[in-house]
């Protein structure tokens, strides 16, 4: 009964937020609208981070890699091949998925903090490649002058910030909806079960590595699609958009949002990115210092972190020294799966 009420309230809030997002471009000025469009793209990357970190149990600092792959693929296709949004979106998602598929062998056997380390290295290496592969990426100058996108064949090009923002909003809403539906299927259940008790899932005949690879590639495709939205939103890209600080900010946003919650990831990532943009606006020069202090403060204020993903707090007194916390195996998920 209480769960039902909470679900209704949550649905109501989500609907209100969505309505607010739709009317936002008529309320705020053009500059804020373009910032909002970019924030939407980053929030979508945040969703892919939550998918890996919270749902699949693979904490990642490297989702900027498929994000960058998608953005650059979209920029190249957009300026040389087609200005149709659907084409660009598919190409960008495919590029992100391809990069994720290539890096699967590096991450799929690792767990916990090791995944953080490997994904961070992958993300940084991608930024280095972007900075040096001048013939395709334009080096550290980036790619500019990407023509305006038209959402579908025969539709007019998106000429102003409001139209671009609404396009980004529509894409994000569709993809987030798809992720939410996907997480309700068996695939989502298996992923969560693998996060909670991998040994048991393996023993019951599931190929955990295969599921994790699938999740990794799907998250890569989502991040790639988000890259395409970034290109639409700001019409130029450079390696600075995909730095290590972006990964860390998104991870912080996802942790604030409750790690495994898709809605939480959207809100958390958007919040963190908004705070960063605001800080760099009001405190030029000292923004990193304040941002770093906020990071530390936020970590202190978030005692639950990953454990909230399981909908329960860690029982007091259980130490978590191991890299792979064995605490609280969610046997309900595994039992539910067996039915």
């Amino acid at each position: 009964m209480r769960g039902e009420v909470i679900r209704r309230v949550r649905g109501g809030i989500a609907a209100l937020v969505l309505v607010g997002l739709v009317v936002a471009p008529w309320v705020v000025d053009d500059y804020t609208t373009s910032i909002l469009a970019r924030t939407l793209a980053l929030a979508l990357v945040g969703v892919s981070v939550a998918l890996l970190t919270g749902v699949a149990g693979m904490p990642t600092l490297g989702q900027t890699a498929p994000y960058a792959a998608g953005a650059y693929a979209c920029a190249v296709v957009g300026s040389r091949v087609s200005d149709v949004g659907v084409v660009q979106l598919v190409v960008a998602a495919a590029a992100g998925a391809l990069l994720a598929a290539l890096t699967v062998p590096l991450v799929v056997h690792a767990r916990g903090v090791i995944v953080l380390m490997i994904t961070l290295a992958i993300g940084e290496l991608v930024v280095i490649v972007l900075g040096r592969w001048r013939s395709v990426t334009g080096g550290t100058d980036g790619l500019a002058g990407i023509p305006a996108v038209r959402p579908f064949w025969g539709l007019p090009a998106l000429a102003d910030d409001q139209a671009r923002y609404l396009y980004a909003l529509a894409v994000v809403a569709t993809l987030v909806g798809a992720v939410l539906v996907l997480l309700r299927t068996r695939a989502g259940l298996v992923l969560r079960a693998g996060r909670d008790d991998e040994t048991r899932l393996r023993a019951s005949g599931h190929r955990v590595a295969l599921h994790l690879s699938g999740a990794h590639i799907a998250a890569g495709a989502i991040a790639g699609a988000a890259g395409s939205l970034l290109v639409v939103a700001q019409q130029y890209i450079s390696p600075a958009d995909f730095g290590f600080d972006t990964s860390a900010l998104l991870l912080l946003g996802v942790v604030i949002g409750g790690t495994a919650s898709v809605g939480g990831a959207l809100v958390g990532a958007a919040l963190v990115i908004a705070v960063r943009d605001w800080l760099f606006g009001v405190l030029p020069g000292h923004a990193p210092l304040v941002l770093g202090a906020l990071f530390v403060a936020t970590v202190y204020l978030l005692p639950t972190g990953v454990n909230r993903a399981r909908g329960r707090l860690r029982p007091p007194g259980v130490p978590a020294l191991q890299a792979n916390p064995p605490a609280a195996p969610d046997q309900a998920t595994v039992a539910e799966l067996r039915r």
Binding site: I118, V129, D245, G292, V296, L302, N307
Partner: protein, 298 residues
């Protein structure tokens, strides 16, 4: 005769890059060994490790004036400052010591962000010049090539440092405790050694190593706004390639990275952007299964 001459000619242009690679690799080894210890013992992904190196680098830039005394002073100050920063980091980590790795990594990232900003505020946004001792400013002849004397001396010093590190970890009581804490932290706690003290000690040692690398390596990877990121990335790649925790593996990986960054770029300039990536992918793909067991228990 002609074949022999052609052979030496073919090797000849790559001698200097290869030697540079050794210097670079040893520098990365000293920097990365701090991260290995930190990761292996305290189980913390220290994203502020590059900051510790940058502290050493800025100290060198500020204190070095061309004399030997200034080098000794810079080394002492740099090592102490970076070790103090490590202890400070350990103190900041104490409240979340029993928490999860995600929040610990995020906390160290916050410290790196704030610390980097403070360094830029203190030393200015430009990359400062580093003055090596005037006795080492010239160059020496190696097989008919001129080579910077400082780099040659650096290779020797870093090799000595690496050997000393190996002996400390293998032979001393502190080293034994460190290795024991990697294998079984609870047992070490039962022996009466406080985990908090081990964490502080380990982060101080990691800071000291990074600080020493920062001072001595300032003429090779100089201090600047991007230094912390560069060193952190190189150290991470080395730690991952080296198989986490094994000193010999770390050394081999560091030397390989050094050669890739110098000799590899000289041999295959067109593929230069991808070499580091390809090396990591190749090694990990080949060794993934072997490493998996160790990673799960790590």
């Amino acid at each position: 005769m002609i074949a022999v001459a052609a052979g030496t000619n073919r090797i000849d242009p790559y001698l200097i890059p290869a030697l540079d690679g050794v210097a670079y690799g040893l520098l990365v080894f000293v920097a990365a060994s701090g991260l290995v210890v930190c990761f292996g013992v305290a189980n913390i992904l220290n994203l502020a490790h590059g900051l510790l190196y940058a502290i050493g680098g800025y100290t060198a830039a500020a204190l070095l004036d061309g004399g030997w005394a200034s080098l000794a002073l810079a080394l002492a100050v740099g090592v102490l400052a970076a070790a103090a920063a490590g202890v400070l980091l350990a103190g900041l980590l104490t409240p979340v010591a029993t928490g999860n790795h995600l929040s610990q990594a995020l906390l160290t990232f916050g410290v790196a962000l704030a610390g980097g900003s403070l360094l830029v505020a203190g030393f200015g946004p430009d990359n400062p010049q580093v003055q090596v001792p005037s006795a080492l400013e010239g160059s020496v002849m190696i097989a008919g090539h001129r080579y910077a004397a400082y780099r040659l001396v650096f290779i020797v010093v870093a090799a000595v440092l690496a050997a000393a590190l190996y002996l400390v970890v293998r032979r001393t009581r502190a080293g034994m405790l460190v290795r024991a804490a990697v294998d079984d932290p609870e047992m070490v706690a039962c022996l009466g050694v406080s985990p908090a003290r081990i964490r502080a000690g380990v982060l101080a040692a990691a800071g000291a190593l990074a600080g020493a690398a920062g001072v001595l390596g300032a003429p090779i990877i100089g201090p600047g706004t991007g230094t912390a990121d560069t060193v952190l990335l190189l150290s991470l790649v080395v730690v991952v390639l080296g198989g986490l925790g094994s000193m010999a593996g770390t050394l081999l990986a560091a030397l390989a990275i050094g050669e890739i960054q110098t000799l590899g770029v000289a041999l295959l300039p067109s593929a230069a952007p991808f070499l580091l990536f390809a090396a990591m992918a190749a090694v990990l793909a080949v060794r993934a299964r072997g490493l998996a067991g160790r990673w799960r228990t790590a």
